[in-house]
């Protein structure tokens, strides 16, 4: 073999090696940040949706870094479709080992989330009983609550006083107040761009439930139909702020003086207090109809373990370490960035930040009017009622007919879940 051929071969080999490295690099980039083994330990991945409060991403990563048993990588998922990204990834080999979400029965039925009863049982009595109940199926607990997030109306008392408006007790009064508060620069109320966050409190405030004790439809009542009609009237009144640059979870609309009252969560309270000082008040979703009662939606997030994780036991150990053992981190997570109510009674009771002023008022409303997620109310049912709101409030359809259409979808879902 000539020297020339040797040299030629070498160049080709070098080229192939370079291309191979480039391809490997590209592939590595595609699958980067998976958190898989990077030397020492199993290597775990956790999914979080992007919280709006500054410092939250760094906090979650700091907790993960403090865990010495294995390397934990965080995927901080921005955008508004966290659910679809999570669901899609759970079907693949790149599924996260643990993730935050809300308790939903179909994930248990599909074998996607692991039973965490053995982790929670020793400290079960220290958790808010409603949080335990909303994660329990057939006596097994499937998730660890990380934070409780009550949602209510935030308002500017100075603007209410100027317009001569009292805090609304009923949905009709809310519409009247919005009309009086509306000026050429400030809209009376902001309920979010899609208004979807109105559905749950509307049902509860109308004295109804999503499902009854036998897991049958309980939301389709005359009062709920009437509530949707009132919302439609409010939507078309010109007194609502519509198409704001950010949605209801962001306090910008109230902070920037675009609206006099805004539906939002307790998480945004520190930002609002910083922007508005003492000119800030809260009130629950007003009652709908004579049989109704004011309500507060207790949203929040829970940690779940992927039942199909290759590192199931290691993940459970990590989840236990962070969300059961590390009370300091749990308190930091709930109270250092936005305000959330810690689901652990011992932490909530010792949290000074929740003991006075507006945060204490938020805790009071949470305890007095709060409603928690029903684990049997799953994505298909949520979407069905989202469509009802879109069709009858934003599009002008007949609420009763829209609810009847939703009934068919929800019943199909209930049949799949409960037989």
């Amino acid at each position: 073999m000539s020297a020339f051929r040797n040299s030629n071969f070498d160049r080709r080999t070098a080229l192939r090696a370079a291309l191979g490295l480039a391809a490997a690099g590209g592939l590595a980039a595609c699958g980067g940040n998976t958190g898989r083994s990077s030397g020492g330990g199993a290597g775990l991945t956790q999914y979080f949706h992007a919280y709006g409060e500054a410092g939250t991403e760094q906090a979650i990563k700091r907790y993960a870094k403090a865990y010495k048993e294995t390397n934990v990588t965080t995927q901080w998922i921005t955008g508004s479709n966290f659910e679809s990204k999570l669901f899609a990834s759970l079907l693949t080999d790149k599924a996260p080992d643990c993730f935050e979400f809300h308790p939903q029965l179909q994930m248990i039925e599909s074998g996607q989330v692991a039973d965490l009863t053995d982790l929670i049982d020793p400290v079960k009595d220290d958790f808010n009983p409603a949080d335990i109940q909303s994660h329990t199926v057939d006596g097994k607990i499937y998730g660890i609550r990380m934070i409780d997030d009550p949602q209510f109306f935030f308002y500017r008392p100075s603007l209410f006083e100027k317009a001569g408006v009292e805090v609304p007790q009923t949905l009709e009064e809310l519409a009247e107040a919005a009309a009086k508060l509306t000026t050429d620069k400030v809209k009376g109320a902001y309920l979010g761009n899609t208004l979807h966050s109105m559905i749950n409190p509307l049902i509860w405030s109308a004295g109804a439930q999503h499902l009854d004790e036998k897991n049958q439809i309980a939301y389709h009542t005359d009062a709920v139909v009437d509530g949707f009609k009132q919302l439609r009237k409010l939507f078309t009144s010109g007194d609502l702020l519509l198409d704001a640059p950010t949605d209801f979870w962001d306090p910008s609309a109230l902070n920037q003086g675009l609206t006099a009252m805004q539906w939002c969560g307790m998480w945004a309270m520190p930002q609002m207090q910083e922007a508005l000082g003492d000119d800030l008040g809260i009130f629950p979703f007003p009652k709908v109809g004579s049989a109704g009662k004011q309500s507060v939606y207790n949203g929040g997030w829970s940690m779940f373990v992927n039942a199909k994780s290759k590192n199931l036991e290691a993940t459970k150990e990590y989840v236990k370490w962070l969300w059961i053992d590390q009370k300091e981190y749990q308190e930091d997570w709930a109270l250092s960035y936005g305000f959330h109510i810690p689901p652990r009674t011992s932490i909530a009771e010792s949290a000074d930040k929740l003991k006075s002023g507006l945060p204490a008022e938020g805790v009071k409303l949470f305890n007095e009017f709060g409603h928690f997620d029903n684990i049997g109310w799953t994505q298909a049912s949520i979407t069905a009622l989202d469509d009802v709101l879109a069709n009858c409030v934003r599009k002008g359809g007949d609420p009763d007919k829209e609810l009847t259409k939703a009934d068919a979808k929800v019943n199909k879902e209930l049949k799949k879940l409960f037989g």
Binding site: A88, Q106, N193, D243
Partner: protein
């Protein structure tokens, strides 16, 4: 080297085998080279296109919620569900409305821009670049700019600020389907994004029209302007126009990004891909119904393409040879 004959005259030595003789074996084989170059792409096509289509066909006959490896066979139920689904059928209407507006609108705008830029004597390259640049912007980024800066519903949105100059109240562009202002937002963002690309195609076609034709027309008395455009320019652009319309239709079928980002959580304004996303990949995660819908859509697109080919005369030139 030479040999000596009996006449003492030397004759040329027989030629040696050429050192540049073509190689034999695999590397010299055209078949090998064909597979070498097309093989990786065919493998990619099989893995990422044909296999998913077959898997989709399989899924469409199963109850496949929250799983892509289902076990409950339900026959054609998913097809019946999709064909009787108001939202899915409505998405086809949405596509039709969208295509009916965006195709002629983009065709006219890009042709207009091409005619305008082509006539420029100064700064032609600058204006070409200015109109072409939006093509490089992602649909998602452009949609968010349209939604959050230009067409938001508050008083400092660009569109509302402009309307405010005339004393017109703030408009919520995307909140409601009545009136359907959302179409204005969707059509303008796509027009802005794609008109520059088709303008380039038209400029190329315009530069291929022989100048002599215009000169001959002028001698025959054709007036410059509309008359010349109608009787010379437009007929000469026929082939390019056909291609542009076809590309625009294909792009309209693929509409997703701007609808998804501008109209989140609505039940209206959903073209087929958005509808199928919500069915299969969104929060519902119904891969069975989503697959059935995707296959119905595929069949529909094939039918439309065949009909389009028939009406627009694809392949007619080949047959006449």
């Amino acid at each position: 080297m030479s040999t000596i004959t009996k006449d003492g005259v030397s004759s040329p030595a027989p030629a040696k085998a050429s050192p540049a003789k073509p190689r034999r074996g695999l590397r010299g084989s055209p078949t090998f080279n064909f597979w070498l170059f097309t093989g990786p792409f065919l493998i990619g096509l099989a893995i990422f296109v044909y296999l998913p289509i077959l898997w989709s066909l399989y899924l469409s006959f199963f109850e496949a919620r929250f799983t892509v490896t289902p076990s409950e066979f339900i026959g054609v139920d998913n097809y019946v569900t999709m064909l009787t689904d108001e939202d899915f059928m409505g998405s086809l209407v949405t596509f039709t409305i969208f295509a009916a507006f965006i195709v002629p609108l983009t065709w006219g705008t890009s042709l207009g821009l091409a005619l305008m830029v082509n006539r420029l004597r100064f700064m032609r390259a600058f204006f070409r670049s200015v109109f072409f640049l939006p093509t490089a912007v992602s649909y998602v980024a452009a949609s968010l700019v349209w939604k959050m800066s230009i067409f938001n519903g508050v008083r400092f949105g660009l569109a509302n600020t402009f309307l405010g100059l005339f004393g017109i109240d703030n408009t919520a562009w995307l909140a409601s389907p009545d009136p359907p202002w959302y179409w204005l937002v969707i059509l303008t963002v796509r027009l802005w994004l794609q008109a520059g690309f088709y303008m380039i195609l038209f400029i190329a076609a315009l530069q291929n029209i022989p100048q002599e034709m215009y000169e001959a027309a002028a001698i025959d008395g054709a007036k410059p302007g509309w008359q010349t455009f109608w009787y010379i320019t437009l007929p000469q652009l026929r082939a390019t126009s056909t291609a542009v319309i076809l590309l625009l239709l294909v792009a309209a079928y693929q509409a997703f990004d701007e609808f998804f980002n501008l109209l989140s959580k609505t039940t209206w304004g959903r073209p087929p891909l958005v509808e199928l996303y919500h069915k299969a990949l969104g929060e519902s995660q119904d891969y069975g119904a989503g697959s059935a819908g995707a296959l119905i859509l595929t069949v529909l697109i094939c039918l439309v393409t065949l009909l389009q080919g028939k009406f627009m005369g694809f392949g007619r030139g080949e047959e006449s040879k």
